[in-house]
Symmetry: C2
Subunit: 211 residues, 2 copies
Amino acid sequence: MKNKGILIVVSGFSGAGKGTLMKKLVQEYDNYALSVSATTRAPRDGEEDGREYFFLSKEDFERKIEQNGLIEYACYCGNYYGTPRDYVEKQLDAGRDVILEIEIQGALKVRKQFPTSLLLFVMPPSVQELKRRLTGRGTETAEVIEKRMVRAAEEAEGIEEYDYIVVNDDLETCVRELHEIIVAAHNTPYRNEEFIEKIREELEVLSKGEK
Amino acid sequence: MKNKGILIVVSGFSGAGKGTLMKKLVQEYDNYALSVSATTRAPRDGEEDGREYFFLSKEDFERKIEQNGLIEYACYCGNYYGTPRDYVEKQLDAGRDVILEIEIQGALKVRKQFPTSLLLFVMPPSVQELKRRLTGRGTETAEVIEKRMVRAAEEAEGIEEYDYIVVNDDLETCVRELHEIIVAAHNTPYRNEEFIEKIREELEVLSKGEK
């Protein structure tokens, strides 16, 4: 029973620890490919083209949109962000599970185009812990933290759209859980249509032959 | 994140190895409870009441039906077979995952009453292997084997009703896969409504407090 890779969409509140989780997941297991987004915003210090983002000009980004070169895209604060189609499709065809980290609107757009995609939502163990993590970074102003809490409340409304939730309490445990959920997802009937069809045809032949 | 047990329904072709799988699963992991069916057929040599089946008289069985004491039941070859409700509900409330081994009609009846139940279908790696296993037992006549192959072809039509399929090629691997699928299933949003609601309420309070 061998099938194509699964397109995995990971969302979750800011502060839930998605970035660290994804990095660790890709490090520990070798069946994953991490999709890199494209953006028109300027690179920050230390960011590398093709690692954090593919940094594109507005013209190049809009050309990609026209050519259907993005699976999904959105505009935030005057900048485009999107998922290049090429990389994702190549990796899926090679049987690797591709991970995208995007928010719910993007996640739902991906599901429409890839009905067998797997939507995962990362949650903090509690809201107290979420607030502690956001405050603990020490890099954000009180105003930014407030905004994120409000944004989290909005995002929480969409959780039922996701296939699975994972609670990021202990990093190691959560990475293992994520991996096991993805492994299990390969076993749904709609991700194994070819195998099921083959068994059916063989049964058909044999049970007719036997009569 | 703690939730109630999951009601797990296991179906699959005769010869796919369900019985051995279930026994092994319950032996290796301690979160499972195996449901024992009730029947009106006579015990065979070596069968014990409460182990293979609960052996009931026709009158007792029909009283159970009237009292809504069975989750599902069916009549085969003039004998009743059914799943006692008591045991299943007690174990689920105690947080244990309960395993039923029944065929598709029963599985769909269970799903109606327990919308969060998990339906698993065990498949052989190939039809050749299925036939080899049925023949290899040496206990069945050619006619019985033929009937089972025909029955398998019928059962194969319902596979898409199941949440997951597992291929029983190597016993150890298949038991581990089953376990991982069940563990993953505990993480669906609809099996964690209380936890999600709690997070939502806390976020609501905090994001209002912050404004």
